[in-house]
Amino acid sequence: MREVIELYVNGVRHRLEVEPNRSLLSVLREDLDLTGAKYGCGEGQCGACTVLVAGRATRSCTTPVHLVAGRSILTIEGLARDGRLHPLQEAFLEVGALQCGYCTPGMIMSGVALLNANPDPSEAEIIRFMNGHICRCGTYGRIVRAIQRAAQKMKEARP
């Protein structure tokens, strides 16, 4: 029961023959070899698999691929433009908001979604928005700081 579907990932169109109920995560990782989104739980509990679908932070592990056919998908691999990091990626490096880095792509994608919707989030808003993400290395405080720093950078970059 394979179907042909079209996925728009990081601005590139892909025509794929897949079983429509497969998770977006497994299609990204196994069929498109985009392994930036990670598997951490498969039940929507950890956020490691987060990508943006039409700008919204989405758990790709619990998203059947047919639901996102034709919609624009952004993964961590597509976040930097022409080799220039997104301000939040820069902020993660500046703050040192990672240890093993396994949670990082998901954290950054959610952080980007948050900043797009709310350019100046308070600490409480960041915590509420990010609470579905797990960092077992415990870098939460640094991630909050990185998001705040990116918000500041983005504010300064606006004309």
Binding site: R29, T35, Y39, A48, T75, E77, N131, C137, G138
Partner: protein
């Protein structure tokens, strides 16, 4: 060593707490050097031209024997523990068997090499955890990287620097003392000559062992060590470019899955794999109790697995409800048993005006590294190569060699920088599974455990029971201290307090769950019991807990962190609100000294305990990288908060009842307290590791704070898995 613990793979359990059998020629004090796996000639050929410097040292192997005594075994030949290569283009490659699992040692080790070699960090690349390329290493655990490997690499780099000086002096016919090295260049200021180290070594084929005496750069002159250099290659992590084991893809690779028993200890009675075998592209492997499948995608593999019908025979197993009685009743004679006796307890009791005793317990908990166990295996030309996230690449190589009856030199284990471990990735289960499937499939196979598998078939931090008895004089001077730990382990079992009469004993027991190493091992359990007991004793004699500790403490380094933490925290100030409380704890382990103060709040309506703020003071000798050290401490506090308040593995009759993040609560953003870290930098002291010890103080500090807030003394970890609701004692 073998334990009578149940193991799913049939591999001997390695329980680091008791790990007394080290590989031949290895020793704790040298971190286990062993000769090159490939011949040195082959290795040097592979490297091409350039300068290779080897750290060769006399290894006096020392083996732990029972009771913690050390038995010397005769002197070994000089062996290699680390090496460094300078290529013609001036790039420096350093080879170490350690692995990067998020503790940022790739960065700190690069710093020490950059410092001693006088080369910018960007020019240095570390090859880590590859059993074909790197020297033998016992494993990345026990906070040994900083005290041992960083020290080795400093010597290698310093010796290389001196060699470069020799080369330049020879070439330029000048005095060697007049040659300077900086920024990757050798210079002779008097004549104005200057050359890049790559040019200097071009065309040379030199390999040189390190002299016994090398001059290291004194801490007062450090320019790179001791700075907060950012994570090496951090960019690859924030762009998703870095490939963890679970991200690797080889040509023709299949995805593997393994059939799991319904309960621990179950044996396979019958299995019907016909339906799975009929699925296109699916390969089914049956080998004794091992049944696995490989397929072109994870989904297909999962479907094939579901189609397998198996019957298992189960046997009754103990449950978490009765675990503590079970441990107390199932003491065993095992090698790890140890006992420390100081003075005489009889004297201690005689001098005591107050006597007191209590029992503490800790639950099994899971490491739950965010990247579950994963491996990619490939058989080629009679050799097996496995990429896997493990803290013991050479140990996993041995496991593989044994499992497949291969000589070790036909097995290669490569460890890509891994999605953390916390002591939970010492073993090679996924590696063996992937290799089995790959052999049968005749193609590379990747196995990535599901979260549920990771929660069920990995190993756990041991549960334990700890009994404490103590006697004091009326003024709070402790005269007697008796401490019995069942199962948790012996790490940090000895008290740092100056007590004249002590009896401290570790009692190994049977364990219904597979158990093993965890960040700081039993130091967490033993500190929880000890530091809660100290708090109870302080209250018994009506002395402030800080003052009580200081009164019984001589160790200057421990006093220093305790005072630093208390000062920053504002210890001794009155409660800020009636349902708030403050607690503290201190301790020492693996060369690190830690003191933690915590302030908590209890919500009376919901019973919820929240940790508002934590101050931790830490001292581990000279600091290599302050920001990464802070990061480790913050991370340890957050992780420790989970074990302190709510993490516990529940099990019943051989089944884990909460093997998912939706059932097993781990700390999240909303649990995060305000964290303040005070670092004490002792450049006059050698550096110790810091990935583990900072975790030990948080649980007792929180428990003591809960007592301060509510008057309720909680003696089991986790302290409040469901908050304090239903606690009849809540005033």
């Amino acid at each position: 060593m073998r334990h009578d613990l149940w193991t799913p793979s049939g591999e001997p359990e390695r329980y680091e707490l008791f790990a007394t059998s080290v590989p031949e020629g290895a020793s704790e004090s040298t971190d286990g050097e062993r000769p090159l796996p490939v011949t040195r000639r082959q290795f040097c050929q592979a490297l091409g031209a350039g300068v290779l410097v080897l750290l060769l040292r006399e290894v006096r192997a020392v083996q732990e024997s029972g009771g913690g005594r050390r038995a010397e075994i005769p002197s070994m030949p000089r062996e290699i523990s680390a090496w460094l290569h300078i290529a013609n283009d001036g790039r420096v490659t350093v080879y170490t068997g350690k692995v990067e699992v998020g503790q940022n040692i790739r960065t700190s080790l690069t710093q020490v090499v950059a410092e001693e070699l006088r080369v910018p960090m960007e020019r240095i690349h570390l090859v880590m955890g590859d059993t074909d390329l790197t020297p033998f290493d016992l494993g990345t655990f026990g906070s040994r990287t900083t005290p041992v490997m960083a020290a080795h690499l400093r010597r290698v780099a310093a010796a290389t620097r001196e060699l470069l000086r020799d080369l330049a002096a020879e070439r330029w016919k000048v005095e060697r003392w007049a040659v300077e090295i900086a920024e990757g260049k050798v210079r002779h200021p008097a004549s104005g000559r200057s050359q890049d180290i790559g040019e200097l070594t071009r065309g040379q084929k030199l390999s040189r062992p390190i002299p016994d005496t090398v001059t290291l750069t004194p801490p007062t002159e450090w320019r790179i060590i001791g700075t907060s250099a950012p994570k090496v290659n951090g960019r690859a992590f924030v762009t998703g470019e870095h490939r963890y084991t679970s991200d690797l893809k080889l040509p023709g690779m299949l995805y593997g899955k393994v059939l799991r028993p319904p309960a621990f200890g179950a044996t396979l009675v019958s299995v019907d794999t016909r339906e799975a075998e009929a699925m296109p592209g699916v390969i089914v492997v049956r080998d004794g109790d091992f049944v696995g499948v490989a397929a072109p995608s994870t989904e297909q593999a999962t479907r094939a697995l579901v189609a397998i019908r198996a019957q298992w025979k189960t046997t009754p197993q103990p449950s978490s409800r009765e675990i503590f009685e079970y441990l107390k009743k199932n003491e065993i004679e095992a090698e790890g048993r140890s006992r420390y006796v100081v003075g005489s307890l009889e004297d201690g009791w005689r001098l005591a005006e107050k006597q007191w005793q209590q029992t503490y317990t800790v639950a099994y908990i899971a490491h739950a590294p965010l990247e579950p166990r994963a491996a990619v295996a490939e058989w080629k030309d009679g050799r097996l190569t496995v990429w896997t996230g493990t803290q013991r690449p050479f140990g996993v190589r041995s496991e593989l060699a044994r499992a497949f009856g291969l000589p070790e030199d036909r097995v290669r284990v490569i460890v890509p920088d891994t999605g953390s471990g916390y002591g939970g990735k010492h073993t090679g289960e996924a590696a063996i599974e992937a290799a089995r499937l790959a052999r049968a499939a005749g193609r590379p196979v990747k196995v990535v455990w599901t979260r549920e598998e990771e929660f069920t078939w990995a190993y756990f931090r041991p549960a334990g029971v700890i009994e404490v008895r103590s006697g004091m004089k009326g003024d709070g001077t402790i005269t007697a201290w008796e401490f019995h730990t069942y199962n948790s382990g012996a790490a940090a079992i000895r008290t740092p307090y100056a007590i004249p009469n002590q009896w401290i004993e570790f009692h190994p027991t049977r364990s219904p769950l597979r158990q093993g190493s965890y960040r700081a091992l039993a130091a967490t359990a033993n500190h929880f019991a000890r530091e809660t007991a100290m708090d109870e004793l302080a209250h018994l004699v009506g002395i402030d807990p800080l003052e009580f500790r200081l009164k019984n403490l001589k160790d200057e380094r421990l006093r220093a962190v305790l005072e630093a933490a208390a000062h920053r925290f504002g210890w001794g100030k009155p409660k800020t609100a009636p349902d708030r409380g403050m607690g503290l704890a201190a301790g020492f382990e693996k060369g690190g000294y830690v003191a933690t103060c915590a302030e908590i709040a209890v919500d009376r309506a919901t019973g919820e305990v929240s940790v508002l703020r934590v101050v931790t003071a830490f001292e581990c000798g000279a600091i290599l990288n302050p920001d990464h050290l802070k990061n480790q401490i913050e991370g340890a506090l957050v992780m420790g908060l989970g074990g302190a308040l709510f993490e516990a593995i529940e099990f019943e009759n051989g089944k884990i009842l909460n093997p998912r993040f939706s059932r097993y609560r781990v700390p999240r953003f909303s649990d995060l307290p305000q964290i303040d870290v005070v670092l004490l930098d002792r450049r006059d002291l050698p550096s110790a590791g810091a990935g583990e010890t900072p975790i030990v103080g948080i649980a007792p500090a929180i428990g003591n704070a809960i007592f301060h807030a509510t008057g309720m003394r909680l003696r089991s970890l986790p302290l409040a898995p469901n908050g304090l609701k239903g606690e009849t004692r809540l005033p």
